[in-house]
Symmetry: C2
Subunit: 482 residues, 2 copies
């Protein structure tokens, strides 16, 4: 920690991000290029996200399982597009138990292949379907441009893998997962994501259709924050995932996969953070409330006791609270700055004068409509009042992010407007649907189609780039992305 | 699943185990030798164990973090005993991103080295201590004699890693972890473990003292089910984990590590299972209660509806319940056998006659003092009565396992008695403390000292093997082990 704070976002967003993740003690750089150590403050955010998403996944009838980390190289080669997509990124084990292995083993970059192999073993009849599996796992992809939480060589995610009797059931599942991710992002991360389908060139390697949730970061760039894939019968054919239907015919299953990763922690940081550092939505915050007792000597002892009592009452009310009472070497001002930098939603200061008045002084990380500055809160009612104040802060962050996104999104019809718009936000525009045209757009502006939004109105027009008739029956969202 | 059941334990315990883990759908064999796929029924057991242990770990002030899977080879070499202990078991990544790596990367067999590196970065002052970290992780050790849950090439565990100002504080931590493991095993797994210290030859590679919980399986063999290590300053010196004490002197920290793994699932299986298959303690059981509706046609529809209603009322009461209502192709008798094989503590049968009497027929997986055979339970009171019946079953399993262990444990003073005793159980005997003498005992009987029990009475005598004066001031527990 240092007093100096972080580089302002407006000056250098990338430097801001790289500094804040370290200074807020979310992570440390790993010993191997592109890896990270997730420190307790960052890992708690991931645990909270996991708990919420795991609940959604189980409630919808999925069961967790665990497939091996190491996959025989031959498995990956069975689905042609899949292996082509992933081979440049693989980490390969060639030696084990002191001997060279006969067949190299791949550290999973994703688990469609190994799970496909077992689905084929476990599925016999239509009665075995749908098969709804999920696993929480680490995966490894050798990244050329690593970035903490967004693209790390090893990352953490859940990957859902399901098998169904037909396309309709598999598509229902694909859209269920997309909806679960959007719900998590909005309700938990306070991130106003856009849901939609990816164009062909942005699809997962081996998928028939890929759906995404896209979030806008505070530099106007898009972050793909979760994806759900309808795999058709591609993996079913590669791994012989077949079932006997009711008439006794052997039929290929239709499969899906969907994943959401530690990248979502990055999305939270870059959706809400400001020049002072992190701003955490209460549901994702390791500490929702921090109590800072103030005073030296005897006074300090009294406020320390009161702070611990207050902390216990908030904990009993289900609030994640931290009492900052074991750093006597630091000044109150340093502590305030420190917790602001670490994004704690609400700070309660407890000085001798507060104590005399039976109050704490409440300060929000950002002013909301409910409160602009510091204000007293009665100690006796803090546990009762704080849950609503935290909900208010959560809702405020969502609305603030939504307003930011809307301000930085525009419907455009000309190439000049498009280029100007994607320089700092998203452009909503017609596209002809040709991959070459996507390539041209990317070459000139770095922007790519983020998605064909699920809720966009039905419209047709001329491609913003090449003037050919539009495809998709609606406008696409374009933006630069991480 | 097959109707035939499993090989009886008495006939071939090892065959019984290998069959039951597959037939009960706990696991499937992995694609790579020594690996396993943990299926939902088995994984749920691990999730329940994790949730309980994670609560104990956090309650005691530890924080979860996450360190990288891949460790530079040079890190492992810094602690001489440690690398010597682990090098035969390592899996090595030599190729990544399409290129040969300059320095090979080890898939972590355990994380003392990489965590040591970061502890050194994060610790400056005595104020930073104790540093209490834990991570839930997969690790890889290339096993020569793999066995599902007990020794798999990849396994899952938590590893606690802590740093302290001195030996006294580090030893308190070491013993805290041992106590937490013993509590988990007893209260959650219904396993009456013995706590104690390992002799020098059974210590963790790099530890000063290793403590263990030892469980007796139903073939009389011991299973080391969790270990806690006081590492002294060995890793602190290798990784320069130092702090400034209150007088400003630079001092090496004292560190600990402790781990409990998916092996505990194997301990539960082999502590409680019988010739019919699994017997699961309710706290670890994925389904504590299974409801089997009986009847065909219209009667079947009625009992099906009633079973789902009963299921909903039990679920609302916090009971993990499964309604077996979507396998019309199977007979009730088949289903009863199936759930017995899968170890479900309590089965509720719901036939037309039960429904007329407003009851379900309750059957325990094993008779307890509270109930020997099938008995009716009023539908309206089931949700209220079942929690106590599940607690009774949990307590019954613990007492049964304790009685079994006590029957198969004997204090012995002669070599003949020792050899006879360890053939089918544990011998409690004096030992001289010489590693060569331990080797002799092992060569003749396969038995090893399992631990110097924490609660053994202070005694001295002659070594059971070589007649030299006893060491340790008490008797040791010997047994054959997994």
């Amino acid at each position: 920690m240092s007093r100096e704070g972080v580089t302002p976002q407006s000056e250098d967003f990338s430097a801001w991000y790289n500094e804040v993740v370290i200074k807020a003690e979310l992570v440390d750089r790993g010993p191997v290029r592109g890896t990270m150590v997730i420190r307790p403050y960052g890992y708690r955010m991931w645990e909270l996200i996991q708990a919420d998403l795991d609940g959604r996944i189980k409630e919808a009838g999925h069961q967790n399982a665990c497939f091996p980390l190491l996959i025989p190289e031959s498995y990956l080669k069975r689905e042609a597009e899949h292996v082509e997509g992933f081979s440049p990124e693989l980490a390969v084990v060639t030696i084990a138990g002191g001997k060279e292995l006969e067949e190299p083993l791949i550290i999973r970059p994703t688990s469609e292949t190994v799970i496909g192999e077992y689905m084929a073993r476990w599925i016999d009849s239509h009665r075995d379907l749908p098969l709804l599996l999920n696993q929480w796992a680490n995966v490894v992809r050798w990244e050329m441009r690593p970035r903490v939480f967004l693209r790390t060589t090893e990352f953490f995610w859940q990957e859902g893998h399901t098998a169904h009797v037909d396309e309709a059931d598999a598509m229902r599942e694909t859209m269920w997962a997309l909806g679960a991710y959007a719900g998590l992002a909005r309700e938990f991360g306070a991130i106003p994501v856009v849901e939609g389908e990816k164009t062909a060139s942005e699809r997962f390697a081996g998928a028939v259709r890929t759906y995404t949730i896209e979030a806008m970061m505070r530099d106007g760039r898009a972050l793909q924050s979760g994806t759900s894939h309808y795999l058709g019968t591609n993996f079913a054919k590669a791994f012989e995932i077949q079932y006997q239907d009711e008439a006794g015919r052997l039929t290929h299953a239709h499969t899906t996969s969907w994943g959401l990763s530690t990248r979502l922690v990055g999305a939270v940081i870059m959706t809400h953070g400001d020049d002072k550092g992190l701003v955490l939505p209460p549901r994702v915050a390791p500490y929702q409330v921090v109590i800072v007792p103030i005073g030296r000597g005897e006074q300090g002892e009294r406020t320390g006791v009161a702070a611990r009592e207050l902390g216990a009452s908030l904990k009993a009310a289900g609030i994640r609270v931290h009492v900052d009472d074991n750093r006597p070497q630091l000044s109150p001002g340093f502590k305030f700055n420190d917790w602001e930098m670490r994004g704690v939603p609400i700070r309660l200061e407890l000085g001798p004068r507060d104590l005399e008045a039976d109050v704490a002084t409440l300060a929000r990380r950002l002013p909301t409509a409910a409160g602009q500055g510091k204000e007293p809160i009665p100690l006796a009612r803090a546990a009762e009042l704080l849950p609503a104040l935290l909900d208010d802060f959560q809702a405020f962050l969502y609305k603030r992010a939504e307003a930011f996104r809307d301000e930085h999104t525009a419907v455009v019809d000309t190439w000049d407007d498009f280029a100007a718009q994607v320089a700092g936000g998203w452009a909503v525009a017609f596209h002809c649907g040709r991959p070459e045209c996507e390539d041209d757009i990317k070459a000139d502006t770095v922007a790519t189609p983020r998605c064909i939004p699920s809720d966009g109105p039905a419209e047709t027009g001329a491609c913003v780039r090449c003037d050919r008739p539009s495809a998709y029956g609606k406008r696409l969202v374009f933006g630069r992305s991480y």
